[in-house]
Symmetry: C3
Subunit: 209 residues, 3 copies
């Protein structure tokens, strides 16, 4: 409806919208939506991250695609859903907290809007919860390879929704971004495992980085 | 105590306060408090909605009534409590999320303060969690009948406390407001049921709209 | 890494940092960190309180100590950890909510930074969740003894992270601060117990106030 469009501040030229919402995870959905933006004639109008994960330490996600044509909006949601599994590949959790790593060789407009990524350049993120682990991940990533830091989001600095995470966003040479993530992932898995040694710490899908 | 009054910015003329607080639900308590304001010589001094629901996707609530007389403050809390059950009548939840619908033929000062309702006019709200469902509810409500939208609250726009909800507030002709809610409720129950088909999706009390 | 330091706005003179992070509890960790600051050559650079407690009504915590020397940073974390148990001594919880009371005869820089305590003076806090209980605690504390209120934090006023708590911070004569807390504790335990009469309401460690 037009009045709802207006209240949501969605450009009126987008007569159709596609909606992707979940309770657990924001990074996987946002990276998947970036693939959808690359593959379809749509724009991401809205990305918001509630404090959720059903009692966990992180976020849920609400992403709205705008399209002039209803078939484009539908296609964007389909493409995004097809990539969500891949982008849960480097998400690791136990009852103490969680880790998330994401990487793309070429960021597009959704990652620019969400995290300040540079369009067309490699982009990576490290996420650690509880938040202390996230600081160590950021430090490890930037010591592992020569990357260009974009921002750090902490529980109270506005980049998160008071979640118990520290998130680090960076760009740079594609090989360096990957290397930084791999270094941080190794350290992060050791730290989170140490908090709950008796629990397995495995990705729910297949690691892709 | 007076210094506490002052820190809470409660008008000193209210020598007594009545407190209504809970971990699960804000809409039912706020609508119930509106009935209490109509029925007693009190004012609502404070309405705040923590991010709570004990791990769920929504809010808890803190409502403070101010009264010049202690018996008025007590009476306001009693009246509000007597209406809470009614206003849980159109709250539906399963492990995927929740829906809430509220309606009054004549809003009073508590709904004005909380949601921008117009005093003396019909007022309705639709709430959907996860937040994507809430957008569909808002769209359905405004397509079902000719209503006057007041606002939409999304996870990150300040109208919620980073909860995983989208809430739609509207006024209009009393029949139209009810019709809009009934239309949205039908669609919402189908959507939320589809996310957890094996679970029942029923109100804990008796639907009143 | 220096770039991470910079993004976190940590003074570059602190070449080492010590990190204390948790999912459940902020008050105990902050009071314990205050002891660490008194005992070591460090400063608290960062205190942030995510909305956490693993589905409960309160906060988690992230504290970063800055030190010129790595051994000072490590020592600060060790001292803080050694005091965390003590400061869980007056934390009481059941499935309805929780209470927390903290007291120090002489506040230092960490409590000043976190809560506005006056360095060198007695300082106390009362915390009640759900938030309605916290208002009663504040009122009881300030009626029990002559104290100087510093601030009240409520779910939506910026002093909490949308947690379902009301927190009261006060200074004053050391005996009065203790007396105010003891009075509030007695009332708070009765109220929270009344919400879940069948559950025990005991501290996980040993009460110290």
């Amino acid at each position: 409806d037009y009045s709802v469009h207006e209240l949501l501040k969605i450009d009126p030229k987008y007569r159709s919208i596609g909606i992707l919402a979940d309770r657990t995870g924001a990074g996987p959905q946002i990276f998947a939506a970036d693939e959808a933006v690359k593959a379809t004639n749509t724009e991401v109008c809205m990305i918001e991250c509630p404090r959720d994960t059903e009692g966990g330490a992180g976020h849920g996600c609400l992403i709205v695609f705008g399209a002039e044509d209803v078939s484009d909006a539908r296609r964007a949601v389909e493409v995004a859903l097809s990539f969500v599994g891949k982008h849960f590949g480097d998400v690791y959790g136990n009852s103490a907290g969680h880790l998330e790593f994401q990487y793309t060789a070429r960021a597009s407009y959704c990652l620019e809007k969400a995290f300040g990524a540079v369009v067309g350049k490699a982009f990576g993120i490290t996420v650690g919860a509880p938040s202390g682990i996230g600081i160590v991940l950021a430090d490890t990533a930037s010591k592992t390879a020569t990357i260009d830091p974009i921002a750090i989001a902490t529980p109270g600095n506005g980049g998160t929704s008071f979640s118990n995470e520290v998130n680090f966003f960076f760009t740079g040479d594609s090989g360096a971004v990957r290397q930084a993530i791999i270094g941080a992932r190794e350290v992060g898995k050791q730290l989170l495992k140490a908090l709950e040694p008796s629990e397995p710490l495995e990705s729910g899908t297949v690691p892709y980085i």
